[in-house]
Symmetry: C2
Subunit: 520 residues, 2 copies
């Protein structure tokens, strides 16, 4: 039997730090369930101390999951304590604490003289803080992971000292992040190999890596690290995350699988859940997957050129090193319709990784029936959109009751909307540069708010004539961005719903207070 690589998924933590990707608690819970179905080994569920909403989301996942659930914590008691509080009902809790170790980070963050007069002294401070944090976490749980932030650019001598000391302090996983996506595969692999040589107690911990993709090398660096002794990789679905994102989970596990002949490592992944997971994450975060994305892109298995197509007919292996079925594309093509009934709908949703409560199910079923009136055939992607758009709304302050637009060449686009809240019904009309602009203007008039529209995107979710359109709107008010999603066979209505949802998110944020950022 080959050696196992531990898959540590950080879609819900680093992935969620992608600009505009904020997920609500329901969405996080569904993604965590889907990750469990994908058989990842560790789910990093969030950064509990950063906000009450983060804390609550981590807690909900920890309360129900059978998988190891990690919570992030800076090397501070308040962070570690908060992580533990969120994780304490978890069957397998892990506290993941981190501190920077590269000179450039140390000098940037610990510049004040209270941390030491020289770099050497500051390093001592950092080393002590790291160990104290691990030891403190160890008072709560056995499973403690330590990350040396910016390890990719950290001097190997100091890095070895920190790793040795934190293992001594109780860390059972030591993570070597290439925080800025700076290293090359050979170089990063050599760093892992060198750590194995230098750190005396290294066999008491699992070496983990966490690679960023700024130079397009995150997956290669992760694989190189594995070949040099790392036994855990931190990665995200669709490679989302800060800036150019993290190593992409699906690419790493498929590379290990397809090239088991030269690697000799395995993961416990259920590969056929890859596609479902990718679609769910893209749907909930609003971060699109480019068509030429490896493994999960729309074109990943498409063969365009005549020569290719000819070759494919003769022998599938000519141009295909893995089949679409192996990653769950078109695993089963079940088409639902009005006749499917509530039971059929629920069964399919479960298969796709969604688990609405009975109450939510009522709402889903009603929306499903409305859609079935417009579309004869309802595909998996329609259901995914339904779930993303209709079900997991929290605190919907304002609802769209009515909308009408009149537009065309030579017509001044005009929209009328009626919004309903608990207190009142508001109606307004406005003109605009186009019908969407007119609707946005009318909504803004009704609510007396004028946020900046940062991005606006529409996609058709299924192919064919009656495709559902999904609109994602990101707005900015002050320092913060809010994302809303709307779905309809009418693109203007979808836009109105998406915009209103983004505005509702803003109102929720204002009510609840802010949130600090998080990272490794």
């Amino acid at each position: 039997m080959s050696e196992k690589i531990v898959i540590f998924d950080t879609t819900l933590r680093d992935g969620e730090q992608s600009p505009g990707a904020s997920l609500n608690g329901f969405e996080k819970l569904e993604i965590a369930r889907q990750l469990a179905k994908l058989h990842v080994d560790v789910i990093e569920a969030g950064f509990p101390v950063s906000s009450p909403a983060q804390f609550e989301a981590v807690k909900r996942i920890a309360d129900e999951s059978q998988v190891i659930i990690a919570g992030l914590a800076r090397a501070k008691e308040i962070d570690v304590k908060s992580a533990y509080d969120a994780l304490k009902n978890a069957k397998h809790p892990r506290i993941h604490t981190f501190l920077c170790t590269s000179d450039i980070h140390i000098l940037g963050k610990f510049g004040e003289s209270k941390y030491g007069a020289t770099l050497e002294e500051k390093r001592k401070t950092v080393l002590k803080m790291a160990c104290d944090s691990v030891a403190y976490a160890k008072t709560f749980v056995g499973d403690v992971e330590f990350s040396a932030e910016d390890a990719g650019r950290t001097d190997i001598g100091f890095l070895s000292d920190v790793i040795e000391a934190t293992i001594e302090a109780g860390a059972v996983t030591v993570n070597i992040p290439d925080t800025t996506g700076y290293t090359f595969p050979l170089e990063f692999g050599a760093k892992i190999a060198e750590l194995k040589r230098r750190v005396k107690n290294i066999d008491k911990a699992i070496i983990s890596v966490h690679c960023h993709n700024d130079l397009g090398l995150a997956v290669a660096n992760s694989l190189s690290a594995i070949q040099n002794g790392a036994r855990q990789v931190e990665c995200t679905i669709n490679g989302i995350g800060e800036r150019a994102g993290n190593a992409s989970l699906e690419e790493i596990v498929m590379a290990l699988k397809v090239r088991h002949d030269i690697c000799g490592y395995h993961t416990d992944t259920d590969f056929t859940e890859i596609y479902n997971t990718s679609r769910m994450v893209s749907g909930f975060t609003g971060i699109i997957v480019q068509p030429n994305k490896a493994v999960v892109g729309e074109n990943a298995f498409a063969h365009e050129s005549g020569i290719h197509q000819d070759g494919m007919l003769k022998n599938k292996q000519t141009y295909e090193i893995m089949t679409p079925e192996s990653v769950g594309v078109n695993k089963t093509k079940i088409i639902l319709g009005r006749h499917s009934g509530r039971h059929g709908l629920k069964a399919r949703l479960n298969e796709l990784g969604y688990h609405p409560t009975e109450e939510e199910m009522q709402k889903v079923y009603e929306t499903f029936l409305e859609l079935a009136d417009k579309k004869k055939e309802i595909f998996d992607d329609d259901l995914r959109v339904l779930m993303g758009d209709e079900i997991y709304k929290e605190d919907e302050l304002y609802e769209l009751e009515y909308m009408h637009v009149n537009a065309g060449t030579g017509t001044i686009p005009t929209a009328t909307v009626q919004l309903k809240s608990e207190q009142k019904i508001i109606q307004e009309s406005s003109t605009g540069d186009g019908p969407v602009d007119a609707v946005f203007n009318a909504i803004e008039r009704a609510l007396d708010l004028k946020p900046a529209v940062e991005s606006y995107s529409v996609r058709s979710v299924t192919s064919g004539r009656q495709a559902l359109g999904e609109v994602i709107v990101r707005i900015r008010e002050g320092e913060n961005s809010f994302t809303g999603r709307g779905t309809s066979t009418d693109i203007i209505e979808a836009s109105a719903k998406g915009y209103l949802q983004a505005i509702n998110q803003y109102f929720v944020f204002v009510k609840s207070g802010g949130e600090i950022g998080d990272k490794v």
Copy 2:
């Protein structure tokens, strides 16, 4: 001075093979000009024998470019001759001929007994065909490149024989493609190193690599090959291409630049043109770039989390290994408006890489003025969209003269269109599931055609209230896909224009006859 790596851009050949990415002649010419501005060394302009349109596009680029222009040719006389005919006015023509060398490809494509009874005999046939093709190409030009298709899975012994023989036959560049994106960096690098050892006359040719991204390793494999002796890399802008695409040019050149300390190679790239080139290619092909794409993604330089932002303020280098400015993001933020005048508009378009003729410029300027009435500030991205949508239309059989929609909750969406062709004016109306569907239905009624809508996407091109919406529609008629783009501040109008453009492309295709595929 460090050694130079030759950048061979195949955006116009392999990149154009991405499903739905077909480019017209004008677009190809503009991309070629922009690639020259980016200072790539070789532009693969297309596969001349595959269709008259391909031939013509390669010829137009070859006729004017100062850069080395390559034309692809299977190992057949007709292909090589056609490539030469297209390239003959080029200042620096290169014929790029290819043939498969892996057993799996040989058995798949040369199964018939006329190619030999055994694999051994078939290999001999392949070897001879490859050499004959190179020798024939050599009768036309000095600069001949040979590619051993699926070299990544080719036995090293046979691959060495083929490379040695084709160099002997006159190839001055020998390309080692990882056609199926199958190899790992160490493995692929070792293959290059082994070729250098085995092939006696290897110093008479430049070793090139061409990596596909099926496992997310194309860039890492290219870099590993360079570190083992390759001196040319074949790559595409935004990493587009067959399936999961090719190695991404921008990632390779930035990796070599940012890590010059450990690599010691350089390219002649003008890095500040990277962003312009990326946007142009995305605009013309309709292939979106995901936000978390390295170097050119929308979030590549965005720092979301609080810790990151804090770190960034203290020291930019904390999380940034390259600056957005270094790749031409926000190089200069020039905002145009009505006052800018024709001269100002033209100057800016040239800076962005667009070169409309005087006649085209008239049309651009008119559209620009119309837009300036709706939007006070016109950004670079608005101009990019204008150029993609308004200018490079060929054979516009039908134009949208008038359009009106009426839609909303509780309203049956209804659209009216009037289309104009040289012969006649047609008007029709229709209902639909939503306003876009209603417009599509009305257009279909008017033209008596009902293509399948494969994909439909909309994006706002600039931020802010009066953003231009760009719609990309891909339709399928029979075996072929056609892409259209439409732009407007009115999303419904943009959709109508995009749909009509796709249909116009279909009519052009029907008039001109089909096209066979191409690949390496």
